[in-house]
């Protein structure tokens, strides 16, 4: 009896190994770059970590696929390298010889990508599923572009400044004219004197006027 069980186990694992092979049509290659992601705090990749991976993937298949009860045994891994890369396939819980379709696996991985990443403290770049590109986040577009706000502030300030300066010079001119009219009464002599000086500067202009 025992040898039958052993034979069955051996056969099933051999069968499973045949299902999973590098370049399998329903499988995906996974590559982890733990050292570049975590540096000093990198953990060592061992059997336990691999178990976590298989469990996480089974969780993804359970939640985001057809709802069947996938187990760790349904995730078959092969061709592990020192790089820390390997191939995996997912077998159906109902029939261990049937592989789950590639697209269903991809869909499940895509939807739970962030959970898988956080289980390993990695990111989309450092935990790669070759063939499943990471979904890009939709950019947050603010209602008003920020540059328009900055522009509005600056233009508002400059506009106000120009208006203030123009108004102040107009006011100054009106005031000067009013003062000048008040003084025309008694100060004709001083005006004549200042005219004499101004005449000199007018004679300066003549050579220029001849242009």
């Amino acid at each position: 009896m025992l040898w039958k069980v052993l034979l069955l186990l051996g056969l099933s694992s051999a069968w499973a190994q045949k299902l999973c092979s590098p370049g399998a049509s329903d499988g995906y290659k996974v590559r982890l770059s733990i050292n570049s992601a975590l540096g000093d705090q990198a953990y060592v990749w061992n059997e336990n970590e691999m178990f976590l991976f298989r469990a996480t993937l089974a969780f993804a298949m359970r939640t985001y696929s057809d709802g069947q009860e996938y187990d760790v045994a349904n995730v078959v891994v092969c061709d592990e390298t020192p790089r820390v890369s390997f191939w995996f396939v997912v077998t159906s819980p109902l029939d261990a010889s049937l592989l789950v379709d590639k697209r269903r696996v991809e869909e499940a991985v895509r939807k739970s990508r962030s959970r898988i990443n956080s289980a390993f403290l990695l990111t989309d770049d450092t935990l790669e599923f070759i063939g499943i590109p990471p979904t890009l986040e939709a950019p947050v577009a603010p209602d008003t572009p920020p540059w328009l706000i900055a522009f509005g502030v600056v233009m508002g300030g400059v506009g106000a400044g120009i208006v203030v300066l123009l108004v102040s010079s107009v006011v100054q001119k009106i005031r000067k004219k009013r003062d000048g009219e008040e003084e025309t009464g008694g100060k004709t002599e001083n005006e004549a004197a200042s005219d004499a000086i101004y005449n000199m500067s007018f004679s300066d202009d003549e050579p220029v006027t001849q242009m």
């Binding site: 020192p82 890009l136 939709a138 900055a150 400059v158 120009i162 050579p207 242009m211």
Partner: protein, 623 residues
């Protein structure tokens, strides 16, 4: 000892200019309606601001690095002393003596020389038009710096959110932001692409900011320069401190200053040094003459000229150092990325554990793998990473500011702060130069009596700004960048050299070097020494003449090509070279030829006018 008097006859000179006694009297009574500086600091800051401009930051470092690094200092310093300082002193002295702007001084020396003033006014106008567009670009980047992450740090997504915009992916986010989101550039100069509304807004903002600073002439400009002339130095120092703490900055500085003395044998090095000194001093614009004329008569213009020249030279070197700390950082960053990219590829292909290949054993590993698996290795096609290649990606002009430097900023922590600082610095540098450019337009316009005398100063500056703003809309089209480089290459180069040469000749030989020496003795108390005599009479005009001839010959002989950003071209993302259409020659003639020809043409016209007047005068005498 009989001195050789080389001077053209100039009758009537005494009648046109104020004598020394009249000048003293004017000074005492403080009469006359000429504006004055509030204090010496304002004058010095305005001149420093005019001289120190964008060229110190983005032209000098490039020239320095491409002409042999530290060795370039030698021709630069020699020509600074022999060409820059004498011309500067000459402009200051003549402005202070004759108390007129860039057109009035030449008209006073001799009415036939009015053409020089008109030429310098035309050049100031040409340059003001496009220079403010550069300031508009700087403002656009400044407004966009108030966000995290910076918009040029990542590519935008394409329409169906499946990936990035293809034009951006093939080039880089900074290139895309500059060529597409800022300029929205067209592939040729003939396609105008329409006005880009965001640039029109920034353009109006730039002209408004300029207007508020020059609204009452030097009364307002003098206050504005306290900020615009000093802030760049503060920012440069901040960047220097920040830059020195970044990895790879010292590599950049070393690369900049490593001397290569063989470059000194090439004439192009000396030519570029001479041109850089000349353009960097903003000579022949008329603005410096005008600023100097607002000084008191006994101001020490000799000392001012030397101080400003030294400040200008030192600023160029200082800015180059700062720029190259940041460029060194960027190059090191690129080199590290290149190396880690290669290492990752090797690890992935050969399934080696991480940590097997590091920066230190990279070369040995590569050699070993190449020997053991040659075919696989050839297929990999690894890019060679060379730090010097990255360092010598020498960029100048807008490419340095808006592509290389902005990329470096995105890699620094707290990027928006550095971006805001950098663009405020560029804005101040550009604005303070614009003050001088505008002065070179406004004062000749007033001398030519284009505006009625009853108009207040605010209206005159307002109308000038509005007209320039409207004409400047050419540079805001899709093809605007090509127009701008056209204006820069032809409008801002040859006419200035012609005007400067004519200035020297006029002052020395038509005004008379002896009279000029006496004037300076009257103004500052001692006669200019042998150095000034030698440079004014012989050395500086000769240098100007050589540079002019070389420039003329090179510009005429080279093919009229321009670089375009064409996503459809094969060379993309490198800029493609296209030939200008034939009608561009007309534009080039208008830009470069008309101001240069204005000098002789106006002389001839005035001569003919005088002869006609003399003839009618004589005939009326006989009546």
């Amino acid at each position: 000892m009989k001195t050789i008097k080389l001077q053209l006859p100039n009758p009537g000179l005494e009648g046109r200019i104020l004598s020394h006694q009249e000048l003293d009297k004017l000074e005492e009574e403080e009469a006359g309606d000429r504006p004055k500086w509030d204090n010496k600091t304002q004058y010095m800051l305005t001149c420093v601001g005019f001289c120190v401009g964008l060229g110190n930051v983005w032209r000098f470092p490039y020239l320095c690095q491409s002409h042999g690094g530290g060795a370039f200092m030698i021709p630069f310093l020699i020509l600074l002393v022999l060409e820059g300082i004498p011309l500067l002193h000459l402009e200051f002295a003549i402005g202070q003596r004759l108390r007129r702007g860039g057109l009035g001084v030449w008209a006073q020396i001799h009415p036939y020389l009015t053409g020089i003033g008109i030429a310098s006014m035309c050049v100031s106008l040409t340059i003001s038009l496009y220079y403010n567009t550069i300031i508009a670009w700087i403002l656009w980047y400044l407004f966009n710096s108030f966000q995290e992450p910076l918009p040029w740090s990542q590519c935008p997504m394409n329409a169906n959110l499946t990936g990035f915009v293809s034009e951006c992916e093939r080039s880089s986010p900074v290139d895309y932001f500059w060529y597409r989101e800022t300029l929205n550039t067209t592939p040729t100069i003939e396609e105008d692409g329409g006005l880009q509304w965001w640039m029109v807004l920034c353009h109006i903002c730039a002209w408004s900011l300029l207007y508020i600073c020059i609204i009452r002439g030097i009364e307002t400009t003098g206050k504005a320069v306290y900020v615009t002339s000093t802030l760049p130095y503060v920012v440069l120092t901040i960047f220097l401190i920040r830059g020195l703490t970044l990895k790879g900055s010292l590599d950049g500085v070393k690369f900049l200053f490593t001397p290569d003395l063989t470059e000194l044998a090439k004439p192009s090095t000396w030519l570029d040094a001479g041109a850089q000194v000349f353009y960097s001093f903003s000579l022949a614009f008329g603005g410096l003459i005008s600023f100097s004329s607002y000084n008191s008569v006994h101001n020490n213009c000799e000392q001012d000229a030397v101080i400003i020249s030294i400040i200008n030279g030192v600023t160029s070197v200082y800015a180059a150092t700062v720029i190259y700390t940041i460029i060194g950082f960027r190059a090191t960053e690129r080199f590290d990325n290149c190396l880690s990219g290669n290492i990752l590829t090797l690890l992935n292909v050969f399934e080696l554990p991480e940590g097997d290949i590091t920066d230190s054993n990279y070369n040995q590993v590569v050699q070993r793998l190449n020997e053991t698996y040659p075919e696989v290795f050839q297929q990999l096609d690894l890019t060679t990473c060379n730090l010097n290649t990255f360092l010598s990606e020498g960029v100048e002009g807008t490419g340095l500011a808006f592509i290389v430097f902005t990329e470096a900023i995105t890699k620094m922590p707290v990027s928006p702060v550095w971006a805001v600082l950098f663009f405020i610095m560029l804005f101040c540098l550009g604005l303070s130069s614009m003050f001088g450019n505008i002065e070179g337009i406004l004062v000749p316009l007033q001398d030519l009596k284009v505006f009625p005398k009853t108009w207040p100063k605010e209206a005159v500056t307002g109308v000038t700004c509005i007209v320039c703003c409207l004409v400047g809309l050419i540079f805001l089209q899709g093809s605007g960048n090509y127009w701008l480089s056209l204006f820069d290459t032809y409008g801002g180069s040859i006419p200035l050299l012609v005007v400067a040469f004519c200035e020297m000749v006029s002052v020395v030989y038509i005004y008379g070097i002896d009279r000029f020496n006496d004037d300076i003795k009257f103004m500052i108390g001692h006669k200019p020494n042998f150095f000034w005599q030698a440079t004014w009479r012989v050395i500086s005009p000769l240098i100007m003449f050589f540079i002019l001839i070389f420039y003329f010959v090179t510009k005429l002989s080279e093919q009229l090509l321009y670089k375009v950003w064409d996503p459809e071209s094969d060379k993309f993302p490198t800029l493609d070279e296209k030939q200008y259409p034939v009608w561009i020659n007309v534009i080039i003639f208008i830009l470069a030829g008309i101001p240069s020809l204005a000098v002789p043409l106006v002389c001839v016209w005035k001569c003919l006018k005088k002869k006609k007047r003399d003839r009618s005068h004589r005939s009326s005498n006989f009546d």
